[in-house]
Symmetry: C2
Subunit: 237 residues, 2 copies
DNA sequence: GCCTGTGAAGCTATTCACAGCT
DNA sequence: AGCTGTGAATAGCTTCACAGGC
């Protein structure tokens, strides 16, 4: 988390995707402001983000799609021979959806195992990878050198599973449980709290509705008073 | 997005949950630093966040669990008679998992409809709510006064569906597609880009591994040179 | 003219630190 | 002594704005 701000890392993967699409469309060069428009950020943001790569474009043609993409890949992804491995804990509805979603998405990162407390699911192959009892987690993680963990277990169990994962060598965790995890500083945790996100979306949606209604009411009140010449005139001449 | 920073809104829902648990455990009061520990933030952060509520604790006993919780509810959630409604687009694996996850989670927010392009799914009741063809979205959203939208459709279709939703009155969107949405400023969008999050987790996990190995190598090199008295001595006396 | 790369300015969010209370 | 509420300081991120290049 020192070599580049974590926001930048996130945006780089978005740029990478955009560049892939651009390459597919046969574009060979792109300007920062066009890349920015496609990724919904500002041009200055793009240029600033790309500084971490040590690749520079030219004023004349902007960035070379192919080269920029390669630079991002080198920076973001491991070399093919160092493929990273991930494991998922909690093979419920959500866990299965995640397994399907992530399977085959990146050649450099593969989910190779899943863990469950429910004995019905052991040894079955779900979403393309074997399901082990949670008790075997440490062994499997160490044996296969798994570095990334995905937690889709019930809230209560999240911390416990995280501890096992970290102890066994996992250094990055996606946590879908709503328990904020306690982990050593060297472990990166991405908290994905869908219930929280939902509450927030609902909150701001309500706000927006409210202010639209307020504006509407103010308008009606004004209309009722006979079109006055106060402040708040809409539709500039 | 003006009345309180969006980060604060997010944390308030976390505090709310913690307070609910505390109430269940029979606690009547709580200090900021204890609440902070449970929510994995700093005490100063908690106190700062609570300022938006206009509720204040006492130095002697801290915050009253019951009252603080009520204040957060009043602030965050709509009144019971103004229940908010949500709709989901895209009833795939992910969409179904989301329907199950969110169903019945909040009395103040209910998913009342889902939309699909795939004709096989129309009119069935999936995850507790009726599935309509996407063409009926505008009608249903307007008819039921739906304000929140959840997008779990393929990337290509996300923008199109978002436009329909917004036009019909939706003011908050959870976007699970990896297309950054273009929406009017008054619409709040929570971009939940799981592929991006995964790339980031993998990146930082790799970093952590790397620096552990580097430290290990440095140690080995030092050992090989015969225990020298340079910088970097571990285990303080 | 219109681009990139980047120092400097500007913002936003978080943390510090302390007055005031009990 | 140990807490809350909050102005002030700090840190982190984004945008501005412009030198330099074609």
């Amino acid at each position: 988390m020192e070599i580049a701000p974590y926001r930048t890392i996130g945006r780089l993967t978005r740029y990478w995707r955009t560049l892939r699409d651009l390459a597919a469309e046969g574009e060979s060069h792109i300007y920062s402001h066009l890349l920015a428009a496609k990724a919904q950020v500002t041009a200055a943001q793009v240029r600033r983000d790309l500084m971490v790569l040590g690749y520079t474009g030219t004023p004349a043609r902007g960035y070379e799609v192919k080269k920029l993409r390669e630079h991002i890949e080198t920076f973001l992804f491991p070399a093919p021979e160092n493929q990273q491995k991930a494991a998922l804990a909690g093979v419920g509805n959500f866990g299965r959806a995640l397994l399907k979603f992530f399977s085959g998405r990146r050649p450099t990162l593969k989910i190779v195992a899943s863990f469950e407390a429910d004995a019905d699911k052991f040894d079955r192959v779900i979403g393309g990878c074997r399901c082990y009892p949670i008790e075997k987690a440490a062994e499997v993680i160490r044996g296969q050198d798994i570095t990334v963990g995905i937690l889709a277990v019930p809230d209560r169990e999240a911390q416990e599973v995280a501890d096992i994962f970290v102890e066994a060598g996992v250094r990055g965790i996606m946590n879908f449980a709503r328990t904020p995890l306690q982990t050593p500083e060297s472990v990166y945790v991405e908290e994905i709290d869908l219930a929280m996100s939902m509450d927030r979306v609902a909150f701001f949606a309500r706000q927006a509705r409210q202010s639209e209604q307020d504006a509407q009411n103010a308008q009606n009140a004004q209309d009722a008073c006979g079109a006055g010449g106060g402040a708040g005139e809409r539709r500039a001449p």
